[in-house]
Amino acid sequence: MSLLLPEAGLVFWMLIAFGIVFLILRKYGFPAITSMIDERRKFIDDALRSAKEANEKLAAIEEQGRAILDNAREEQTRILREAAATREQLIKEAHARAEIETGKMLAETRRIIEQEKKEALDDIRAQVAELSLGIAEKIVRKELAGDESQREYAGKLLDEAITERENRQ
């Protein structure tokens, strides 16, 4: 039965030894370890949390960038469309102006041509009258002396002849 009875001397030494060990470890041993483990746990938690925050921030920034890009793209299409419209208009205007200018020039040219033609016709008429007179003079010199009434008659005949020709045309 002595196995079941605690021996006083052993209890005494065990109390002392275990007490000393407990005091040493309580002061220098376990708190250092457990507090460091707790701190490390906190450190890891903090690191994880800040990493998550950074990720969220990054996502927000990316979102923002995408929004800016979208805006820029819209702006670009708008500007391009406007430019195209402006170009069209410019071309149209230029066309219009060119047409007007051409019209003007054509009218001027026509007028000059008309004038030239008229001048040329007058000239030709004068020359033809002169030539006709010359011819008629030569033909009738013998029988007719140079007479004013006859020259008028010849002019009248020439006018008729020209009018007939114009009517024919």
């Binding site: 002595s2 196995l3 030494w13 000393i20 470890l25 309580r26 370890i33």
Partner: protein, 355 residues
């Protein structure tokens, strides 16, 4: 690791074999007294027997410190009993209630124990060695942590194992069982856990610094349980004492006959008693079974050499198996002691009802 275990096991066999052989030499007729072998091992002794080589006992003599009303304080080495049976009226009893203990004779000629016997016995020395080892291990681990910052890499190797065990004990045993005030009890429970675990493991090492039956000695487990008792009852809050002396039961159960308070008060002392017996009995049984398996060889060998040889193989296999089992038990018992201590401490910190 496996290789190491094999070596340990074979050394253990060798050692126990020597013990058994030595015991068998002392027996007449060649029969083996297994009970004697086992009891010699599991009980405390005044010298540390290491081996018996060629009939010579190799043992470490230990100092005896006694106080007797006859002689006063006496300090002497246990080696004196190698030469003579009696020294200054003290002798080691061979039979009776005090078998193996230091006794003196009273006036009637009967054996009686001296008033105080605080000798450094085998178990005491083993406790000291285990304590030194424990302090060294924990302080080395603590030094690693002191030299680092929280942001540094986690430890590997031995410190990593220590951290793993400490984290396991704190997070799985202490925190859930005690509750929000757990921090105050962490150093005590960790000290108890590592002391028991280390002592259990050292008890499985068959050669000198180990092999002693420390946690299988009721005085050691009694002290451990007593510390838990103090942790529970000294730091218990008002709610706890109200539950003990004026529990929440119908009044006729506590007045005029204090039925429930008596039961509760009984429970206060039963709890550490259960702790004491559980650890003591488990480790004692482990040592006894291991020795019994080894002794099996010598019993059968004494009957018949052929059966003995065959039995050796079986016995060695059983012993190896038991050693592995004891490694498991070493951990489980430390775990259970710490867990129950934490549970009892947690019971002494009840939360306010209705909160």
């Amino acid at each position: 690791m496996k290789c190491l275990l094999t070596i340990l096991c074979s050394l253990m066999l060798l050692f126990h074999g020597n013990t058994a052989m030595a015991a068998s030499h002392g027996q007449s007729g060649g029969s083996v007294d297994v009970k004697k072998i086992i009891f010699e091992h599991v009980k405390d002794s005044y010298e540390w027997h290491i081996a018996t080589v060629g009939g010579t006992h190799v043992s470490i003599p230990l100092p005896l410190i006694v106080y007797s009303e006859r002689t006063g304080w006496e300090v002497f080495s246990s080696a004196v009993f190698h030469e003579q049976d009696e020294y200054k009226g003290f002798r080691i009893s061979r039979t009776g209630d005090y078998e193996g203990k230091l006794v003196e004779s009273d006036a009637m000629g009967n054996e009686k124990r001296p008033i105080l016997d605080i000798s450094i016995t085998k178990t005491v020395l083993s406790v000291f060695l285990n304590c030194i080892l424990l302090v060294a291990i924990v302080l080395c681990t603590a030094r690693w942590y002191r030299r680092r910052k929280p942001g540094d890499a986690a430890p590997g190797g031995f410190v990593g194992v220590m951290e793993m065990i400490i984290t396991m004990v704190v997070d799985d045993l202490i925190k859930p069982n005690i509750g929000k005030n757990y921090r105050r009890y962490v150093p005590y429970l960790l000290t108890a856990f590592f002391f028991i675990f280390l002592s259990n493991l050292m008890g499985l090492v068959p050669i000198f610094p180990g092999g002693a039956n420390v946690t299988g000695n009721i005085a050691v487990t009694f002290v451990l349980a007593f510390c838990t008792f103090i942790a529970v009852n000294v730091f218990g809050n008002r709610e706890y004492y109200k539950e003990v002396f004026w529990p929440d039961v119908p009044t006729w159960l506590k007045f005029p006959l204090p039925l429930m308070p008596v039961i509760e008060l009984f429970g206060v002392f039963v709890k550490p008693f259960a702790l004491t017996i559980r650890l003591f009995a488990n480790i004692l049984a482990g040592h006894a079974v291991l020795l019994a398996f080894v002794s099996l060889i010598f019993i059968t060998m004494a009957v018949n050499e052929y059966i003995g040889s065959a039995m050796t193989v079986v016995s060695v296999m059983f012993t190896v198996f038991m050693n592995f089992l004891e490694l498991l038990v070493a951990f489980i018992q430390a775990f259970v002691f710490t867990m129950l201590s934490a549970v009892f401490i947690g019971l002494s910190q009840p939360e306010h009802h209705g909160s």
